[in-house]
Symmetry: D3
Subunit: 162 residues, 6 copies
């Protein structure tokens, strides 16, 4: 199975990493695909988000990093992926994920979405919490890897300086 | 990926069939595994449920039918499956599925559960609705295949006669 | 609009009464239809549940009481109702109600289900809570009318005596 | 029953159309009421949204199109509607719909909200998905009528040209 | 137990008041803590929100009003509160509240969040509804106290005049 | 605050233990109250469930074990507790907990229910899962303490022998 795991990864969290490390063994190849949405402001640039992913996923032999803009199904069609991987943190993530999975299959019938349950101890981890806590000066060490934590702190320091 | 799709299949519905036909192309091999729970009364016997599945899944080259009793994770461990496939009919199925997926990973860490969204037009289809409607003499033609509908009617007729 | 409001009404609660009194003005005629399910044990007999309803709904000119057994859609078809009225106590009632509404439309396409939100102060009222609290000797005065409360107490007393 | 079906209709989707066509036979008259919110940016102007609705609902004899601004209950009071019609796409729509239905009844006690379940095959259809997919150049033919699809494409082309 | 009840209180609603009056008897001391978020626009200034709270809570002997900015857990740590009080209006409030409660305990292990169910007749009351209805000229008398209603009207009049 | 934590505790899980250990420091005294429901079959007798609790909670100075039958609010009234403690494992526990909390306040207005979020890594732990897994011969070491695991195994062995 050739699959992709799309997301903003702004930044990569322990929740994302858990899904990637668990999905990879099920796939012949897994592409982590960073969404590039020019009209949405992000903490890290597209290039930075890709670099962080490449650094952090180097230990996974069958995982590569890519990016796309526009419709996910167009990207899936072009790259000929068989499946899209998504994580469900809590049952409250299910409504929007089911709607998007159905919408995507309607546009591209063979495009299956495979949902994995986040590990229970990571069910509260999200990129937006990471950004918000870091901006308020709080600890993010239990939400991201040390490498990502350092990147976030450096980014926020350079932003304040500018 | 070698996966199994466990369930009672009492009887096989169009909802089950949709998940099986969509999951099969993602797997090297998919085993549809009928749960045998001696303490739970079913409309069809274990052998009957397996026969219906074998009849209805004959067109799928990489799908086979099996059964198990006891813990799902024990069966997964013994057969060395990499993943368990489950369908989500509606977002309200998510809470129990997440709980079971987490419980199973705690007992068998590499046992991943892959959840697929039921097609929207099948989101209300369940085996228990099939049995209840058939018992009340209603139409089940939009919930199961013609073959299964005939089996259900024959079974109910023979039960009433006895 | 000719509509029916089906239910077990075992017994009629203030929640049911609220839905009936609010739905009646929207209908040319509203039939409150007691489900008769011979295989399910109830506190009150079918005749008793109908009598309670007739007593309590006498002030509503365009409301009558009826009963049915078997499939709701068969009853709707036979009586030529245009709509089925249902109350949603809390958002957690929605999943099963949506499934049943879709299932019923699949069997009888013109059979619409109209869902009304229970009043907030009645969102915790259910017949099963009434029966359970009464059996444990607790107060049910805020869940049912004084007439129904008296009927419940009398019924439980006569059951214990027998 | 005189009812209204309020919404932004930016643009009209197959989901809206399904609710209108199913609610109309239950009403003496059904008014589709376009919300005019000057502080919210829309793809189509108020006049355009009304024109699309009038064009697409011409086959429904007892349906008319109107608009309102300000509080829905003020509009309902002024026009003396007996009920407000709303569609529930998925059970996850229920919480906000129940809150608004209760709030509206508190401000205008006889203002009933009748919720209908969207057809299962339309449960993932929303105006915001239509706009987002169209902006990204994707297909919207299974979400809106051909007439609306053409209007959306023309609108986006003229916006890009300007 | 020394606890705090954090929120924006923009403005204080009958829902907030209900939670405060019910939580206070359970606490040795309860601090109502107004969140000061400089990047978020509010109807009332921080000082105004605090004044309204002080006016409306004067009858509660063991309740005081405070404010904080930044991370809630930092404030809880500094003030040495044992618990954070939160209201659940409807079951749909639970997902975000559980996520935040878990996140806060991860950052400050002894920081417990105690959730209370809003009274049923207040389950649809929120500050954002109060602001929206008031802006549209609707009645807010059943959502806030007369004092708060007067403050809201005066504030909106002075804003329009400016 | 004098509070009680009611439940079946059939048997005590790590989820229960987590709630008790976190709630105890917030209370002057916390009573763990075992529900005795003669019409419901349990794995452990009332006496056994109390003994397990007493053994496992001996390290908590302000916690005692009790039991009750009948209505919870009657027990709360008699013992003059100020609050009832409940754990929410997942957001899907919220609907029934909110209904019961409201029902209990209606019968006993000062009876507050304080809901705590289960720790994320325990969100899938329930007594019924413990019993089911143990009956099927599976591992329960991550759901209960070693002491409870031994009690469960001994109980199931003695049941099979009888």
């Amino acid at each position: 199975m050739r699959a992709c795991y799309p997301g903003s990864f702004d930044p990569l969290t322990l929740g994302h990493l858990d899904i990637i490390e668990r999905a990879a063994p099920l796939c012949a190849h897994l592409t982590v695909a960073v969404v590039h949405n020019p009209s949405k402001q992000t903490l890290f640039s597209l290039a930075e988000r890709q670099q962080i992913l490449e650094n952090q996923l180097a230990h996974l032999g069958n995982v590569s990093v890519d990016h796309f803009s526009g419709l996910l199904v167009e990207y899936v069609r072009k790259m000929d992926y068989q499946a899209v991987v998504r994580g469900l943190r809590d049952s409250s993530d299910a409504p929007i994920e089911l709607q998007m999975a159905r919408l995507n299959r309607e546009m591209l019938p063979h495009c299956e979405t495979l949902m994995l349950a986040a590990a229970g101890h990571l069910s509260h981890v999200s990129s937006s919490f990471v950004r918000e806590i870091a901006r308020l000066g709080g600890p993010i060490d239990q939400l991201v890897t040390p490498f990502v934590a350092a990147q976030v702190k450096q980014k926020l320091t350079s932003k304040e300086a500018s």
